[in-house]
Symmetry: C2
Subunit: 311 residues, 2 copies
Amino acid sequence: MIVVVCLNPALDITHEVPSVRWGGVNRPRAVHARPGGKGLNVARTLRALGADLLLTGLAGGVTGAGIEAELARLGLPAALTPIAAETRRTFTIVENGTEGTTAFNEPGPEVTAREFAAFRAQYEKALAAADAVVLSGSLPSGLAAGTYATLIEAATAAGVPAVLDTHGEALRLGTQAGPAIVKPNRDELADLTGRPLSTKNDLAIAAGQLRTLGAQAVVASLGPEGLLAVTGDGRWRARPTAVAGNATGAGDAVVAALAHGLVLGRPWDERLRHAAALGAAAVAAPVAGEFSDTDYASALSAVAVHREEAG
Amino acid sequence: MIVVVCLNPALDITHEVPSVRWGGVNRPRAVHARPGGKGLNVARTLRALGADLLLTGLAGGVTGAGIEAELARLGLPAALTPIAAETRRTFTIVENGTEGTTAFNEPGPEVTAREFAAFRAQYEKALAAADAVVLSGSLPSGLAAGTYATLIEAATAAGVPAVLDTHGEALRLGTQAGPAIVKPNRDELADLTGRPLSTKNDLAIAAGQLRTLGAQAVVASLGPEGLLAVTGDGRWRARPTAVAGNATGAGDAVVAALAHGLVLGRPWDERLRHAAALGAAAVAAPVAGEFSDTDYASALSAVAVHREEAG
């Protein structure tokens, strides 16, 4: 079983408008509301891959209740720990005319020490039956930047490999805790190393630094350029063919595929082939956390994976 | 008791951002969520005035549950009829840097005939104890444009005067049903009469047309220019002194004051003085449905009310 940790889930609300009247009143012609947050996208993708999983995390208020109701409707196995504060929303405005997208992401609820202790107890119980754990997304207010590090240490103590996808200080501290895989994107990597990453070699050096920091493997997602992996088994690149679409959630599909490949014991080249293909299939799908089997299969045969000499 | 009908309430969500990154990801530094919709603003204002009231209407889904929880917390007497579909949200972005405001208003839920029949039964029960009824705001999907007209006819049959504040076809049909007062703003009046209203006399003629259509009195709210009333007791203007602030909800404050004045049996000049003052106090308040007693009192002494000769 893969335990997916989603400490800051969201109700993702999307408004479609022909074109935005800035400074005016807009009447969206289509409204979508669905559970989101990076961990939730990972869980949905794992489920579509047929993996055995349990979604854990925190949910509060009417927004939290709405998310739990929708997870039950989707049949996604979940055990969310209740909190008093309101789960966050994200608002995305899609302009149908221009394909422009503007997002407004709420910061998330205040979580108390007592609530986190209750989550922690549920998490450790879930670890006992886990083959891997995925820690994904931002931390809500009130949780220390070292929260993921603590959860990775607990996983390691239970002999469970961890996959980490977050940013900033939580990524730095989490990496130091020695997860099996960290998956930064280009911005997160640049942010962490504190310098622009203009060349392929810059990227490889930065990914290598995260490995030095503690990660057993680093897989950087580079958008249309695919994946760059620095692992104990060498340096790899996996490049899909170009796809047009919505890149939101593509990184989460990559994380799901990496965790799935880890649990299945796939070698790195196969893990990366599947991860790059699933990322591409997610871009082609209109909604984060979804993909079509056809897109996945055709992307899989088109991904170019090769091993690189260390620079 | 004043019965306030709010068929399309909303959860009003406001995000404050320093300045919007269009096409990017924004992280609001403050998030507010509160029950809204014009009828709800009217009910809150009536309560602040000390009026006895009952909020009626429709609520569904987790958003509806959130609104009901917040009404209970505010101690606002409410009896909302449950519906299966999700109550709407409005999403407003306030740019602190420029004071610019952009709104995205969801259209509202589909209401079935059976659900509306259940509301209708609750409404007729409430009418038995009502001194006035206020019908305010847009109609959700699935309800005919003649819905307010039907509810006004039921009020008239029960001997209860009705105050109507809506727009478009619902306003036209509602006006024909003979409410005690209709309160259009300048745009609604222009929309209904089908021509631009450039001069004071144009406005007076248009308001007179609504009276001919069936309204016993018409009070047009003209923003900083105050109120123009065409009544059975002649034509009136009420002009407050200029106030800076947020005009959202000022029209709802005017409606609340008009209903309150009607129930108290105030003569037209006094009704209009209070309505214009409360509108100005609402502009000065940061949040729709609220005002400070000090602003109200000082606006009240500053409003100029005069009776006009018919043009």
